[in-house]
């Protein structure tokens, strides 16, 4: 290699690395950072984006340069020089990628270890997934909720499982997900770092309601979180039966599949429940509205509204709900 050629190679390499830095610094492709893990993951992501930019530019630039510079001149029917290879060059372009890959793997390992570091006394939240809802149980406080509340700054240990098929518990702003697999309890450590409301989404195909299997995580200040816990612990029977019925509607996951405006539910997998007070009596001959609703909750397979699939609605609600809860819910639905 002569001096001029070396200078060109150095210049091009410097320009590529510069562009890599620029891409890593200036491209904001990730959502808000709402956990300590998100900060670590995003650093790794930016670094990798820089490396990726350099590789991307080498290949695209090489292709463009070849098209412009090495295009056949009109009338030239001759072949190019008979070069079959170059051992030194081939060793270089095997070794350099190998080193880059080793660095990426090492850095990834470091970030993984740091983001899964357990802290003392984490808040334990048991997550159960079912088609197509999430339920959160706080064993220390003894409460169960359809909405996830977390205090900012304290590590959470999610213990995730599923009652039916595989789901995946994903909070994009936390930069992490974990599958909810029936028969297994998967652990996930994460420390929320940002007060706010963030989406929870199911990431693993779980059936026709997969797209709408969403919920929200509310990250509170420690004081707000304590207040929320206290509010949940207080007896739900505040005297308003509609309030109690709406709580059941949430707790037992009805909202995951049914639409009911009064309960702010917009599921699309099961029949719409708006106006069910009127239509319930017309569904099955010989069954009055109240009887029909009770049967639909206790034995969902007995009659399936045409156009909807059998076997999706849980058949064990009779065991899970108290008789009062069922009565209250039926009365509430009749009023809709």
């Amino acid at each position: 290699m002569n001096g001029r050629r070396i200078a060109t190679v150095v210049l091009v390499a410097a320009a590529l690395v510069g562009l890599g830095f620029l891409a890593a610094r200036s491209l904001d492709l990730m959502p808000e950072q709402a956990s300590t893990r998100a900060v670590l993951v995003d650093q790794l992501f930016r670094w990798l984006l820089g490396v990726a930019t350099v590789i991307f530019l080498i290949v695209q630039g090489g292709l463009l340069y070849a098209v412009i510079r090495f295009r056949r001149r009109p009338g030239d029917e001759s072949d190019g020089p008979p070069i079959h290879g170059n051992a030194r060059l081939e060793i270089v372009w095997t070794l350099i990628p190998a080193v880059i890959v080793a660095l990426i793997a090492f850095y990834s390992f470091r970030v993984l270890a740091a983001s899964e570091e357990p802290e003392d006394s984490p808040l334990v939240v048991e997550v159960s997934a079912r088609q197509f809802t999430w339920q959160f149980h706080y064993p220390e406080a003894g409460i169960t909720s359809a909405e996830l509340h977390l205090p900012v700054g304290r590590q959470v240990r999610f213990e995730i499982t599923s009652d039916d098929v595989i789901h995946s518990f994903w909070i994009p702003e936390f930069r992490v997900k974990r599958d909810a697999t029936p028969g297994q309890v998967a652990e996930l450590l994460v420390t929320p770092s940002q007060i706010g409301r963030f989406a929870i989404r199911c990431a693993e195909l779980c059936g026709p309601g997969h797209a709408t299997m969403t919920s929200e995580v509310v990250v509170d200040s420690p004081a707000d979180f304590a207040a929320w816990l206290a509010g949940q612990r207080a007896p739900a029977a505040s005297g308003d039966p509609a309030q109690a019925a709406r709580a059941s509607f949430d707790r037992y996951g009805c909202y995951g599949c049914h639409t009911l405006a009064d309960a702010q539910a917009s599921g699309s997998v099961g029949p719409v429940l708006d106006g069910i007070g009127q239509t319930a009596a017309t569904r099955v001959e010989g069954l009055q509205a109240q009887e029909y609703l009770r049967q639909s909750i206790l034995e969902p397979g007995a009659f399936v509204v045409p156009g909807y699939a059998d076997g999706l609605m849980p058949s064990n609600l009779g065991e899970r709900m108290t008789p009062e809860e069922i009565d209250t819910l039926v009365a509430y639905l009749l009023s809709q």
Binding site: L29, V59, R72, E90, T94, P172, E173, R175, D179, A203
Partner: protein, 539 residues
């Protein structure tokens, strides 16, 4: 031997509709049949993108959407990319190694004739409830699903059988039927690609078939292989499935890379840079490819310590892949590039596949994967690999061998229009999906949050452009096949053996079996000669 009485009475093209043991007939049967499935799978993609044009359930409900993308994925992988590359293999392998046919011609015909019934079986699943569990068919969802899922499983088992029979035939043919002088180190790189792929098929496909039979038995006979209540393990299926399905990516990519290695030296008019490293990198990818499957399971609660080795093996695949890319670039360096349609698609392959390759490194990095796994980032990645990559290479191959197969030249201007539409459509369809995934959009959803609307609308427009891009190709292929100018034996002045015989080749391929005395890409020697015979003058 065909019965002369029958052959005498029917027009010659009808032999493509019947049982025939000529590898060229079978190769073309494969290519045309699978292209029809490609159009069907593409139509499903158009419906999917129409649904995703705006948020909300606009055209269909969740179950219908699940059926659509399950069949889109299955048709594209099992009835298009894998068999179309086998079709190229069938047509080209005997010609490239100087043989009169494949080693087992009747087995070869059988491998093709398993495909149409299996394809019909898969489509029939729509009429019995449909297959709704995705092409990955994760248990327990796939065990609970409607009857269509059983038909789907049987169809995939049959297609796997076809693939295994084909692989046995390829390996035997390459090892035992080569012409005199066709040493291992003179094999064209497409042959190396098919060889590496066939070894993967023989190792991994039987495992998928076994797994699918277990699922079918759980569904039909009440066995409990995957039942949680009975102590079965749903994650077992993921291990079985990905032990096949990750290598399947290389099954879909290695022959495609082989096509690229054929096209680039011919149109750069230079020897392939680093023949042996490229051949060996195919074998390396094939062996390494068997050790990476659990990178699809980082979120599944597998033993956390096992994640690290899978991350490393997955990333190491980048090294042999890089060897190929740098070698192709070096082949073009100082060459005399003819930028026509096959070369454009080969360069398009490099330009698009590299994006799929780089984003594969992001996915192998466990902390990033725990965020983007099962998101649209993965959808974009896999389409860059399989559409930007494999399908671009298939198009490069279709244009490159069109004169050989049909005996006629295609229209260059229409080819370039096709390339431009295809390249723009691919970029517009898949680039926005990376960002949608990073921002938090899960895959396999018919409805999405409003924040993803713009990205999805762009993606849908790109997909529709891709749909339109097939029209100039179809027009070009059909009209040129019927009325295009006659092609010479060797219009590209290539040096591999398929160009030493007439276009299209006669029955049994060669008048005299060639004797090979030089490599497949020895361009730049003066005077340029083909290894066995003097090439007919090129354009």
């Amino acid at each position: 031997m065909p019965k002369p009485s029958l052959a005498g009475r029917l027009p010659s093209w009808t032999r493509y509709l019947w049982w025939n043991t000529d590898h060229k007939v079978i190769g073309l049967q494969y290519i045309v049949t699978t292209f029809i499935f490609f159009l069907l799978g593409g139509l499903m993609a158009m419906l999917i993108r129409a649904e995703l044009l705006r948020p909300g359930f606009d055209l269909m409900n969740g179950a219908e959407y699940d059926r659509l993308f399950t069949n889109h994925g299955s048709v594209m992988l099992f009835l298009w990319i894998i068999p179309v590359l086998a079709g190229f293999g069938n047509y080209l392998i005997p010609l490239m190694i100087g043989a009169r046919d494949m080693a087992f011609p009747r087995l070869n015909a059988l491998s093709f004739w398993l495909i149409p019934p299996a394809g019909l079986l898969m489509l029939a699943s729509f009429f019995v409830g449909g297959a709704e569990a995705g092409w990955t068919a994760y248990v327990p969802l796939s065990i609970r699903g409607p009857d269509g899922q059983t038909l789907w499983a049987i169809s995939v088992v049959i297609l796997g059988m076809s693939s295994i029979l084909g692989a046995i035939n390829f390996v035997t043919t390459v090892f035992t039927m080569r012409a005199e002088g066709m040493t291992i180190w003179r094999l064209p790189l497409f042959v190396w690609g098919i060889l590496a792929t066939s070894l993967l098929v023989l190792t991994a496909t039987p495992v998928l078939a076994a797994g699918l039979i277990l699922v079918a038995m759980d569904r039909l006979f009440g066995t409990l292989f995957f039942s949680v209540a009975a102590g079965g393990d749903p994650v077992l299926w993921q291990n079985i499935f990905w032990f096949y399905s990750h290598p399947a990516v290389y099954i879909m990519v290695l022959p495609a890379m082989g096509i690229i290695s054929e096209v680039i030296p011919v149109f750069a008019r230079k020897p392939l840079f680093g023949y042996k490293p490229i051949a060996m990198s195919s074998m390396a990818i094939s062996v390494l490819g068997l050790t990476v499957w659990a990178h699809h399971m980082f979120t599944s609660g597998m033993d956390p310590r096992l994640r690290i080795p899978y991350m490393i093996s997955s990333m190491v695949i980048a090294v042999p892949t890089g060897v190929k890319f740098f070698s192709w670039l070096a082949t073009m360096w100082d060459g005399k590039l003819r930028i026509n349609t096959p070369m454009l698609f080969a360069m398009g392959f490099m330009s698009l596949f590299v994006i799929g390759g780089i984003t594969g490194i992001f996915l192998a990095s466990i902390p990033i994967d725990l965020h983007v796994h099962d998101s649209y980032f993965v959808v974009a990645h896999l389409h860059y690999v399989l559409f930007g990559g494999s399908v671009s290479a298939v198009y490069a191959g279709l244009y490159y061998w069109f004169p050989k197969i049909t005996g006629r030249m295609y229209d260059e201007r229409l080819g370039i229009v096709h390339f431009v539409l295809n390249f723009l459509g691919t970029s517009l369809a898949y680039l926005p999906q990376f960002e949608a995934g990073l921002l938090g959009m899960p895959r396999r959803v018919a409805d999405y949050a409003d924040q993803f609307t713009t990205l999805n609308a762009l993606s849908s427009v790109g997909a529709f452009l891709l749909g339109i891009s097939t029209l100039p190709f179809l027009y070009n292929a059909i009209v040129s096949w019927a009325t295009g100018p006659k092609a010479a034996a060797n219009p590209w002045r290539a040096l591999t053996l398929e160009w030493t015989t007439s276009s299209p080749p006669p029955a049994e391929n060669f008048e005299d079996i060639p004797v090979v005395s030089s490599g497949p890409y020895d361009f730049g020697q003066t005077p340029a000669v083909s290894p066995a015979a003097t090439p007919a003058g090129g354009s």
